[in-house]
Amino acid sequence: MTAVSIPEEMALEARLRSRRAGGAKLLVPYVTAGLTDDWVRVVEAVAAAGADAIEIGIPFSDPIIDGPVIQAASQTALERGVTPASALAELGEVSVGVPLVAMTYCNLLFHAGFHRYAGWLEEAGVAGTIFPDLPKEEAGPWAEFAAGKGIANVLLVAPTTSEDRARAIAAESRGFVYGVGLMGVTGVREQLAASAIGVAKRLKSVTDRPVLIGVGVSSPLHARQLAPHADGVVVGSALVKILADGGGPEGAYDFVSSLRQALDGQ
C-alpha cells in the first residue's frame, strides 16, 4: 500500500459519501485563488457557512471553458502575481475542516510535472483535482499518480455525453462525478437549464458515486430545483461575482449560507 498523506477523514469521496449517507445534499462552492488579498479568509468563511468541500480555482491564462466572470477573476489573480505554487502555499497555512479540490487547466499540471504538482497539493492538504480539459482518455496517468497520494481526480460528464460513456466516466472518476449542467461555459444564469436535471438523472442511473451538478447553478432556487435529482451542486460564477464586486468573506458567508439552507430544505 502506498502511504496516503491526505488524512482519512479528509479524503474527498469518503467525506461526501458519509455526508450523503447522513441525508445531506452536498454543497461545493468555487473560489478563485488569489482574487483578493483576503481570499483565504473567504475560503474559511465558505467552509463555515456549510460547504461540504470547496473548489479552489487556480488561475490560468487561457480558461476556455470559463465565461466572463471567472475569466475576469482569473485575469485579476494573475495580474496580482498568483501562481499555482503561491496559491497552494497560502492555502496550506490554514485548516478549513472540509476537503479542498483544486480546479484548473491541465497545462499547469503538465508544466509542473506530476511530482511537483502533487507536492504542492499535498502541502496544501488538497484532496482532489479537476481539470476540465483533461478528458477520460487523457486523464489516466495523472489519476493513477494522484490516487497513490490519496488525491481524487474528478471527471466531468456533459449533456452530450452518451449513457455508456457517462457510465465509464463515472467508473473512473474519483471523489465525485461532476455533471456539467448545460452546454456552455461557466457563468451566472437566470434560470436553471433543463439539461442540468437531465444530466443529474442520467448520472444517478449509472453510478453510485456522488453526483454533483455545476455550471449554470447560480442561486438557492437552482440548488433547490436540483436537490431531488442530484447529490449536490457546485456553485462557481455566482459566488465569484460577489467576491469580484467586493463582497469579501461576509458576502461569501451570506451567499453560501443561503445555498446551504436551500439544500437543507429550509
Binding site: 476556455i64 485575469q75 499555482p84 497545462n107 482518455e137 487523457e138 455525453t161
Partner: protein, 391 residues
C-alpha cells in the same frame, strides 16, 4: 498518402508525443463525430471529387509555381514560389475551408464559426459560408480587427458577423479561446472551422490533409520544372497549415525542410511542451505554464503555439525551424515587390526573409529553393504603409 509521417496522426491523434485531444467533455461528442465524418469523407471518392472540383472551378487551383529570375540572380540560387497568393480570397486558407464547409454540410449543420488572426481564414470561411448558404461568425482579437481592417470589411461584405475579442492579448490566441467557448454553447447546429493544423484531434490531421494539395501540386510542378525535388522547401509557420500542407509531399524526399517562425512567436524554436487549445504541442509559456503573448508584425503568425505535427517534425529532426525578426520581414516584403512584382503577405514574407538572409550561407549557392507564398499582401499594405511612412 500513406506516408510514414502521416500514420501517427491518423491512427491515434498523436504525432509522436504531440497532438491528442484535450477538450472539455461537452465538446467530446462533436470532435468524435467530426473525426468519423472526416475519415469517411476523405475515403469517399464523391467527396474528393466535389472538394477538388470546388478547388479547381471556384478557388482557382492548381496554383502555379513561379521561377523568380531576378531574385535568383541576385541571390545566386534558384528561387521558386508556390503561388497560394493567386487563389480565390488570396491565401491558402481557402483549401481547408472548402473541405470543412463540405463536412459542415454533411453533418447537417447550418452555421460555421471561425477564429482569425490576419483575417485570411475569416475571409475564406465567410466566403465558403456565402457559397454554401451557411451562417457565419468570426472571432477576431481586437488588436487584429484594427490592423487588418480591410479583411474585417471583406468578411462583413460576405455576410459574416465579426466579433472583436477583448480578452487576454486580444490577438489570435484569444480569438481561439472565444471561438471554443462559443462552440460549446452551439455545437448542435454549428461547426467550428479551425484555420490551422492545431486544436484537438482530428483538426491537425484534417487540416493538414485539406492543405496537402499545396505540396502535392508543388512537388509535381517542381519535377516538371527541374526534373527532380528542390534542395530546400521553405514555408512560414503560424499554426503551421501552409507549412504542413507543403511539407507533407516532401517528407520522404531528400529536400531540406525549413519552417520559418517570427522571432517574437517562435513556438517550435523557443517554446516548451504544453497542452493548450486542445493539443499537446510547444508553446511560449512562463515558468508555471501560463501562456505568454506572442509579438509579431504579422497578425497571422502572432500565436504563441504551433500545430503538433511541427513539434513532432522538429523533435525527430525531419524539419528545422528558424526565426526571423520584423525588420527582416519588412525588407523581404519590399524586395519581392520590387524585384518580382509580387506583393507578398507579411506571413510568407517571413519565409522569404530567411531565404534572403541565408542564400549563400545555410542555403549553398546554386541550391534550388521552393518557398510557399501563402498569401498576397493587399491586406497588409495599409499597415506596412503606416510603418514605412507611405513607402
Amino acid at each position: 498518402m500513406s506516408s510514414l509521417f502521416a500514420d501517427p496522426g491518423s491512427a491515434s491523434g498523436y504525432f509522436g508525443d504531440f497532438g491528442g485531444r484535450f477538450v472539455p467533455e461537452p465538446l467530446m461528442a462533436a470532435v468524435r463525430e467530426l473525426e468519423d465524418l472526416f475519415t469517411a469523407a476523405w475515403e469517399d471518392p464523391a467527396f474528393q471529387a466535389e472538394y477538388h472540383s470546388i478547388l479547381t472551378g471556384y478557388a482557382g487551383r492548381p496554383t502555379p509555381v513561379t521561377y523568380c529570375a531576378n531574385l535568383s540572380q541576385d541571390l545566386g540560387i534558384e528561387l521558386y514560389l508556390k503561388r497560394e497568393d493567386l487563389t480565390h480570397t488570396g491565401s491558402h486558407k481557402i483549401n481547408n475551408v472548402v473541405g470543412q464547409a463540405l463536412l459542415t454540410r454533411r453533418m447537417g449543420k447550418s452555421r460555421i464559426i471561425a477564429e482569425t488572426g490576419a483575417g485570411q481564414h475569416g475571409v475564406a470561411t465567410a466566403t465558403a459560408a456565402a457559397l454554401f448558404g451557411l451562417k457565419c461568425t468570426v472571432y477576431m482579437g481586437a488588436v487584429d480587427v484594427k490592423r487588418q481592417a480591410l479583411n474585417v470589411f471583406r468578411m462583413r461584405l460576405l455576410g459574416a458577423e465579426v466579433v472583436p475579442v477583448n480578452s487576454g492579448s486580444r490577438t489570435l490566441k484569444d480569438a481561439i479561446n472565444e471561438a471554443m467557448r462559443e462552440w460549446v454553447a452551439c455545437v448542435e447546429d454549428t461547426h467550428y472551422c479551425i484555420g490551422s493544423v492545431m486544436g484537438p484531434h482530428p483538426y491537425p490531421l484534417m487540416v493538414r490533409q485539406f492543405q496537402r494539395v499545396i505540396g502535392d501540386e508543388a512537388r509535381s510542378q517542381m519535377h516538371e520544372a527541374i526534373g527532380t525535388d528542390p534542395d530546400f522547401v521553405v514555408a512560414c509557420v503560424g499554426g503551421g497549415s501552409n507549412a504542413a500542407g507543403t511539407f507533407t509531399a516532401f517528407l520522404e524526399s531528400d529536400a531540406a525542410i525549413v519552417g520559418v517562425e517570427p522571432a517574437g512567436g517562435a513556438a517550435v524554436g523557443r517554446g516548451t511542451p504544453g497542452v493548450v487549445h486542445g493539443m499537446r504541442s510547444k508553446f511560449l509559456q512562463d515558468e508555471f505554464g501560463q501562456v505568454e503573448e506572442a509579438q509579431s508584425i504579422s497578425a497571422g503568425l502572432d500565436y504563441p503555439g504551433v500545430g503538433p505535427e511541427h513539434a513532432y517534425l522538429a523533435s525527430i529532426g525531419r524539419a528545422r525551424y528558424e526565426a526571423v525578426d520584423d525588420a527582416a520581414v519588412l525588407n523581404a516584403f519590399q524586395v519581392l515587390s520590387r524585384r518580382e512584382g509580387i506583393i507578398p503577405a507579411l506571413e510568407p514574407a517571413h519565409a522569404l526573409a530567411w531565404v534572403l538572409a541565408e542564400a549563400g550561407a545555410a542555403i549553398p549557392l546554386g541550391s534550388r529553393v521552393l518557398v510557399t507564398l501563402s498569401g498576397r499582401g493587399d491586406k497588409d499594405s495599409e499597415q506596412v504603409a503606416e510603418i514605412l511612412g507611405g513607402a
